[in-house]
């Protein structure tokens, strides 16, 4: 009787484990990185959150139901930078500014670092566009390398690209 109960419990446990493991195996983790499009992409609202990836020779930004693609060969410049932002931001962050005894100011001291990825690209008519993305710290540099490997160009070599750049660095 006891053996039977133990066997049933083991089978039940194995079933639970399999059920938990199967969906994760079926659902492939999304490639690319989570990013916020600050500005620049046509048809995307400023500060839209989405997934930034490079696939099939295209730079893809997927947000909500829409997907914007930019051919990587049209990317003329990729530059990375760094910045920081408030931990408490958005509506909540604005409301914290009303906190008494300078509580909002105190909360402003809490900041999180982030990476900035800036690209310049041309549309089919030759018009110059720019786009700015922010992403988690340490994600921009590998993504830049990925873009460069697929044919994008840069004015700042990967090793030297620390912090921000300017147009002076573009000069030979």
């Amino acid at each position: 009787m006891v053996k039977c109960t133990i066997r049933r419990a083991l089978i039940f446990l194995a079933g639970l484990l399999a059920a938990a493991a199967l969906p994760s195996a079926a659902q492939q983790p999304p490639t690319g990185t989570k990013a916020v499009q600050v500005t620049g992409l046509t048809g995307v609202k400023p500060n839209a959150k989405g997934n930034l990836a490079s696939a099939n020779g295209n730079l893809e930004f997927e947000h909500e139901k829409a997907k914007v693609t930019v051919p990587i060969h049209s990317v003329e410049d990729v530059i990375t930078g760094a910045d920081s932002q408030r931990v408490f931001r958005g509506t909540m962050g604005t409301l914290t500014m009303l906190a008494p005894y300078g509580g909002g100011r105190f909360l402003s001291l809490f900041r999180s670092k982030l990476d900035i990825l800036t690209i310049q690209y041309r549309d089919t008519d030759g018009g110059l566009h720019g786009a700015i993305f922010t992403m988690a710290l340490g994600k921009a540099e590998p993504f830049k390398k990925e873009l460069l490997a697929q044919g994008a160009r840069t004015s700042v070599p990967v090793q030297d690209d620390s912090g921000s750049s300017n147009t002076q660095e573009k000069k030979p």
């Binding site: 500005t39 500014m97 310049q120 147009t167």
Partner: protein
């Protein structure tokens, strides 16, 4: 004695008025009376000032967005757009960064009075042949709320207004 004093005061006043008018005339290179149907925006140049790439792109994109939002021009062309080649009724906007001070959002939030971000840009409008038709200095800044890139939006609004007021064929829009 009094007459001499009054004459001196009056002449100095007239001189200062004349100098001011001459300065204003010099800033606006020519009378911007000509209205056009299209404008082309060139990428922001920052040869002398070290400007982070995200600010350069944000200035350019915000300027184009604000010009489109403001209306008055049938077309707002980007740099390098082939469609602009055949358009004659058009002005070209050249923007050069003359000053940049990157403030701190944290300093603004904590102290209220410190941490201002400011960008000074020289805007030059030329016709298709490259002849200057209007020059002006435009400033963008963020003093209190918002990130540093918000200064670029401030500049874009002022720059778009300058273009709209002087060149838009349909200023009512």
């Amino acid at each position: 004695m009094k007459r001499i004093f009054y004459a001196a005061v009056a002449s100095s006043f007239l001189l200062s008025v004349h100098a001011g008018a001459a300065r204003a005339q010099a800033q606006a290179a020519a009378s911007p009376a000509k209205k056009v149907s299209a404008i082309q925006v060139l990428m922001i140049q920052s040869d002398e000032i070290k400007l982070p790439a995200e600010f350069q792109i944000s200035l350019y994109e915000n300027l184009i967005q604000q010009l489109e939002k403001k209306g008055g021009f049938q077309h707002v062309y980007r740099e390098g757009d082939h469609n602009a080649d055949s358009v004659t009724d058009m002005v070209v906007l050249h923007s050069t960064v003359r000053g940049f001070k990157k403030g701190s959002e944290m300093a603004r939030n904590v102290t209220t009075v410190a941490g201002k971000t400011s960008i000074d840009i020289h805007c030059q409008f030329t016709d298709k042949d490259g002849k200057s038709v209007l020059e002006s200095d435009v400033n963008g800044k963020v003093r209190f709320l918002g990130g540093n890139l918000r200064a670029t939006l401030d500049f874009a609004k002022k720059g778009a207004k300058l273009a709209h007021d002087n060149f838009a064929a349909n200023p009512a829009s």
